[in-house]
């Protein structure tokens, strides 16, 4: 699939953190976290990305991935 993919579930699995706990830590609703996880989000705020990186102890590149069309 072409575009930016959000790989939160992979990082979450590595850190062994649940969706509810992550949503609580970064201060967004579980519904919004689900939108992010399912790649339905149209944009992500720097503040959300920063909170995610802090909560998951990772870099933005671990969460976001760009894929080209072949």
């Amino acid at each position: 699939m072409k575009g930016i993919a959000v790989n939160i579930d992979i990082v979450m699995a590595k850190r062994k953190i649940s969706a509810g706990e992550l949503a609580d830590r970064i201060g967004i609703t579980p519904a919004n976290l689900s939108i992010l996880k399912n790649n339905k989000a149209k944009a992500i705020r720097f503040s959300t990305l920063e909170a995610l990186c802090e909560a998951l102890d990772c870099q933005p590149g671990d969460i976001l991935e760009y894929t080209k069309d072949d």
Binding site: N32, L33, I35, K40, A41, K42, A43, I44, T48
Partner: protein
């Protein structure tokens, strides 16, 4: 105190009254025209007398189109009252209303060329309303896109 909710309620009531009036006009106008209740010596009446069946047909078509537009308007207002303003459904309803205006314009222009200048004026007005509604529809469509983007920004 006057507020948006009361304004919407008034618009809904006016729309429902308009629906009843269109129904009443659709029944009363052909009878009145056939019985010559509009007078004997007026310019419009003299022109109309030669084309009564055509005028009645066009009038009934216009009433049907107006009813479709009014029912769409009623649903649109109900949606707005329920808090659903910038939705694809409302864009579709506005598109329907605008097409109904253009259809009325075509019908009355046909009647205008066949009978009286009076119908040409109504046709031009209907066309103008249709154009305004298309612009409003385009604005709402752009707003739907913006709202969608905003809703999916996390």
């Amino acid at each position: 105190m006057w507020n948006t909710d009361k304004s919407l309620t008034l618009s809904l009531v006016c729309t429902k009254i308009a629906i009843v009036l269109v129904f009443a006009a659709a029944i009363a106008f052909p009878i009145a025209l056939r019985k010559g209740l509009f007078g004997e010596d007026g310019y419009v009446t003299a022109q109309m007398n030669d084309h009564i069946p055509l005028i009645i047909a066009i009038f009934i078509i216009c009433c049907l189109l107006a009813l479709i537009a009014l029912f769409s308007l009623n649903r649109l207002l109900a949606n707005i009252k329920n808090g659903n303003v910038f939705t694809e459904k409302n864009v579709r309803l506005l598109r329907t209303i605008s097409w109904m205006c253009f259809a009325v314009a075509i019908a009355t222009l046909v009647a205008g060329f066949a009978t009286s200048f009076f119908f040409l004026v109504i046709g031009a007005l209907a066309c103008f309303f249709g154009l305004i509604l298309r612009v409003v529809k385009n604005v709402i469509a752009a707003a739907v896109q913006l709202k969608d983007e905003n809703d999916y920004t996390i």
